[in-house]
């Protein structure tokens, strides 16, 4: 496998390494109960960033250009994910209104956020496999 090394990849990898170092510093050197938590989050973010950098470096630069098909797929997936989010929020509201479940938006906001993000990712993948978003 051939890896592409350019300015963007190096910059992104540098940020990832800095995140991991900051995380290690926070978890091992700083006292208190808050810092190790933030430190481990930083380490996880750094590791994810390194994995993304490796995947990106393994792909040819031409594969990463935003052409009209990828833009259309991204926009349509975003629009449909937003609609899914609205429908989900309406359902949550309905359930809360009828009092079957004692739901509070503050409790379900994280899950709603995940519904939106995952809908967007899955729809993007689906439209990309299908070829077009129409």
């Amino acid at each position: 496998m051939k890896f592409r090394i350019d300015k963007d990849i190096l910059r992104f990898s540098g940020i990832a390494v800095l995140l991991i170092l900051a995380g290690i510093l926070m978890t091992s050197l700083l006292p208190g109960s808050t810092y190790p938590g933030i430190g481990s989050v930083l380490i996880i973010m750094g590791v994810i960033a390194i994995i993304i950098a490796i995947i990106t470096a393994a792909r040819p630069k031409e594969d990463l250009i935003q052409d009209e098909r990828s833009k259309r797929i991204k926009e349509t997936a975003g629009y449909h994910a937003f609609l899914i989010l609205l429908v989900t929020m309406s359902l949550v509201q309905l359930i809360a209104m009828f009092g079957r479940l004692n739901l509070d938006y503050r409790d379900v906001s994280t899950n709603l956020f995940l519904v939106g993000i995952w809908s967007w990712i899955i729809l993007k993948w689906y439209y990309n496999q299908r070829g077009d978003a129409r």
Binding site: E62, I65, E68, R69, G131, D132
Partner: protein
């Protein structure tokens, strides 16, 4: 929708990658165009037709029904 992109591309000895580079899109876009699964913009259709030295109506064949 059917296209004659594959046939004309072969005539000009162009790979999908080369055609993609010439019209400024990803190789996958050319793959889906050839399969007739992607409905291109007028600009992309014009660019592909120009590279393959043909008219747009010769390149894309639409079923009437």
């Amino acid at each position: 929708m059917n296209t004659r992109i594959k046939e004309l591309r072969a005539r000009y000895n162009l790979t999908q990658e080369e055609l993609a580079k010439k019209v400024g899109v990803r190789r996958e876009t050319i793959v889906f165009l050839e399969k007739g699964k992607y409905n291109p913009s007028l600009k992309l259709a014009h660019d592909v037709a120009k590279v393959l030295e043909t008219a747009i109506e010769e390149l894309f064949i639409f079923d009437d029904d």
